[in-house]
Symmetry: C2
Subunit: 219 residues, 2 copies
DNA sequence: TTGCCCGTAATTGGATCCAATATACCAATA
DNA sequence: TATTGGTATATTGGATCCAATTACGGGCAA
């Protein structure tokens, strides 16, 4: 999954990529209004490519478009967020299963490093980055592009709430997550797909239940 | 899930809805090139709303956009189609589970009628329509809009291959599907979610395996 | 014949202008 | 005072024009 940052892309794609980064990095709060002209000015472009970019982000679930009215940074209710997590519980084990046979030795080593770094780390943003890399790397062996894109969209749409929840829990409440990561890594390393699937399912499910205990991060 | 046909929508949405219908009804073969100007002329509009419509359909997986090059009716390889079905196997039981508690008596009666009509029917297009209505109706009790949309997209992107496969099997090879529909209906009716999930999983899985026996319908 | 190069036509992408729609504000009235 | 109606303004949607990119085809050389 190569992520080319602001390369030689067309204007609309460049704008979409840039906005996507800004949203995922938490610079925009969900519910924030997006005016086409503002974005256009910000990129020195006209409104045409901005509109295309907003459609792309709308399709990804990062932006909500309302006809004749405007665009907002997408917002999830607790119920909707739980829905996303339930989908993840069912779909990510499938993706992991497809990925495991093709994971390289280097990939496994990197996974181990990531699990260690997460445990040693105290910073929220760093944790989010490492956690994302850990899981997406564990899926990198899969050649199923459609499923991979779907999972990445699920991660993206829930990113904001994962951040808010991580902030709340400080650094203490993550012991379980770290254990699960190590268990998952062990199952992957010994090629036990069935166990890996089960652990991953439990990991996502437990996170969903934890998340539901903090409705204050939702509108 | 109300499907408003060509109502008072904005031009871009009207064009998208119309193209969607044409694609789903099989009027376009996968791989067919779509030129913006043709569509624009066909709808008496300019290319602007056509481009927006194509982006929407691209997001739904019905059209494939390539930057600076053009748009084509989306095409799936056998592998990709199997991927879609594997996702369906995992996700649709979840949706059914969320739907079952809220299905009305009228809904159940309609499901029974649909199962009967499918069995009595001989026509391919009619079968596709009834089968789709049967399953989507069984999900209609779910208030999970995001999951519902996702499932509908999965159905839409695979519609063309389901049609081709149904044509091949003529009307004889569907005994098993009819049995499964009746079993599913029975489980739903008696409110046995666990069993319903399992039957639905098996139903989709078996269809995937059958589909894989007919690689000739894929490019 | 086959492969490559280059020029022209076709097609998409972006900018600008105009139209349609929605929001916000203010006044008038119950 | 609260609410309704209407007008002005802000914002999005669509049409048209121009620019950039790509695809096609003929000519040339190996």
């Amino acid at each position: 999954m190569a992520v080319s940052i602001e390369g030689d892309l067309a204007t609309s794609h460049r704008i979409a990529a840039s906005l996507r980064e800004e949203i995922l990095s938490g610079q925009f709060a969900p519910g924030t209004r997006i005016r086409q002209e503002d974005i256009a000015e910000q990129f020195g472009a006209s409104r045409s490519p901005v509109r295309e970019a907003l459609r792309m982000l709308d399709a990804e679930g990062l932006v909500t478009l309302v006809a004749n009215t405007g665009a907002w940074i997408a917002q999830l209710s607790l119920t909707e967020c739980e829905e996303m997590y339930q989908i993840r519980e069912r779909v990510e084990p499938l993706l992991l299963n497809a990925s495991m046979p093709n994971l390289t030795k280097e990939g496994l080593e990197r996974l181990a490093i990531l699990a260690q770094e997460m445990e040693a780390n105290q910073d929220v943003e760093t944790f989010l980055r490492l956690d994302r890399e850990f899981h997406l790397l564990s899926y990198s062996g899969a050649s199923t592009a459609l499923l991979g894109d779907m999972v990445q969209r699920l991660w993206n749409t829930t990113q904001h709430y994962r951040r808010a929840y991580t902030r709340l829990l400080a650094t203490n409440g993550f012991k379980t997550a770290h254990y699960e990561h190590h268990l998952l890594l062990a199952a992957i390393t010994r090629g036990d797909a069935e166990d890996a699937e089960r652990i991953l399912y439990g990991h996502i499910r437990r996170t969903r239940l934890e998340l539901a205990k903090h409705p204050e991060v939702f509108p």
